[in-house]
């Protein structure tokens, strides 16, 4: 297979990954590395580099859909980015030290965990409770638009959320993913933010987190232009089109199918890692 066909096929695969990822809300970045390593036999370090770049592109590109809605909370985002950027730097350094087979196994476990998180029911009601001392100190409480005006909310569990964000950052830097699932878990479950505020703030944070490890990846030579080109353009186009068709599409079946694909890929990553195929 020559470079032209290789690039076209990877571009097509990345487009589908980005499209399904944004349509289902599971993110496309998480399947790029398994796609490149298992299907196209790309070395995992190049795959992680290409995936990370595509994560930055989707995060920044998706901002188009979110900015005018007024859901994201930039104070919470900025405060938590301290944890994610430190984590991302730690993760990026770990990538250079761990064996590629170990990275593959960790990747597989994260895939399985993402599928598990996606299958759990969302917490719809916002049982807000009294204001939290630390959140008040950091002026995090805010409001978001609803049909009848604006609904205010209080923020909780700041230390717990901050710690989990560090983990999200490490995983992002280590595996070249956005860690959107862990970020939403921290904000939705621990800090008890409304779901829509969690998802949009998480998306806002993903680009900054990924940018923290990108410099390390570039200097290590993980970012191969010939590979990044089809991956970045494919994922970006797919996710933008996916976000546009989000409003009316029936996504529940797709979510189940895409989660099943993620489980299969996760098991294959773990198996190949354990049998030394990386």
């Amino acid at each position: 297979m020559n470079i032209l066909n290789f690039s076209l096929l990877i571009g097509l695969g990345s487009f589908v990954a980005g499209f399904l990822g944004s349509l289902t809300g599971l993110g496309g970045g998480v399947v790029i590395v398994p796609l490149l390593t298992l299907v196209f036999k790309v070395d995992i370090r190049y795959a992680i580099g290409a995936s990370l770049v595509s994560v930055i592109a989707t995060s920044s590109g998706a901002a188009a859909a979110y900015v005018r809605e007024g859901y994201s909370n930039i104070r919470i985002g900025m405060f938590l980015e301290i944890a994610t950027t430190v984590g991302a730097l730690v993760g990026a350094f770990l990538t250079g030290m761990l064996a590629t087979s170990a990275i593959a196994v960790i990747f597989g476990l994260v895939l399985l965990y993402s599928a598990y998180l996606a299958a759990r029911p969302r917490r719809e009601e916002n049982d807000n409770g009294p204001p939290d001392r630390i959140a008040t100190l950091l002026r995090m409480d805010s409001d978001y638009p609803i049909a009848t005006g604006r609904q205010s909310y209080h923020v909780h569990g700041v230390p717990g959320g901050f710690s989990l964000m560090f983990v999200a950052g490490v995983l992002s830097g280590l595996l070249g993913i956005g860690s959107g699932a862990v970020k939403v878990l921290a904000m939705d479950q621990i800090m008890r933010l409304p779901f829509k505020v969690s998802t949009t703030t998480s998306n806002f944070m993903i680009g900054v987190t990924a940018a923290a490890s990108a410099g390390v990846y570039l200097s290590r030579g993980y970012i191969g232009p010939g590979l990044v080109m089809p991956v970045m353009l494919g994922v970006l186009a797919g996710s933008l089109i996916g976000a546009r068709s989000l409003t009316n599409a029936k996504t529940e079946t797709l979510r189940v199918v895409f989660s099943a694909v993620i489980v299969v890929l996760g098991i294959e990553m773990i198996f190949n890692g354990l049998t030394g195929k990386f």
Binding site: N2, A57, L89, G207, P225, V228
Partner: protein, 134 residues
């Protein structure tokens, strides 16, 4: 467009978010344009060759440092142009954080100016430090 005389109200969170969003979109479009043009040149030159990403050997030094990337991009090398697009893409969220410092300063929110400066210095440490290594 609403015109207000009150200085602080021009820098509400909503207004800041809107500017931030536009900044991100502009950065992505610019980066994607470079990657697309570089990609076309790369495929025209090397399309018939064989992909070399199966075994890790690391990218050559001129594609790992900012000066090398700029030199290759000015010479209109396909890979240099793609790499410059990637650098612009990475710089976009960093520019977002830098703008947030300014916006929080206009809101006289000293606490968040400090928190944002911490994030900015971490990003610049990785980005500038990483790209200047020999």
């Amino acid at each position: 467009m609403k015109h207000t005389t009150n200085r602080a109200s021009r820098w509400t969170d909503e207004r800041v978010e809107e500017i931030l969003g536009k900044l991100l979109i502009a950065g992505v479009i610019l980066a994607a344009t470079f990657v697309l043009c570089g990609g076309a040149r790369y495929l025209i030159h090397y399309g018939a060759g064989l992909p070399q990403y199966g075994v890790f050997h690391g990218e050559p030094a001129d594609l790992r440092t900012l000066s090398g990337i700029l030199k290759d991009a000015v010479a209109l090398h396909g890979e240099g142009l793609i790499q410059l697009g990637i650098v612009l893409l990475v710089a976009t969220p960093i520019a977002r954080v830098a703008f947030s410092v300014f916006a929080f300063a206009r809101q006289r929110d000293i606490l968040y100016v400090i928190l944002t400066l911490i994030v900015l210095s971490l990003l610049l440490y990785s980005f500038v430090g990483g790209l200047n290594q020999p």
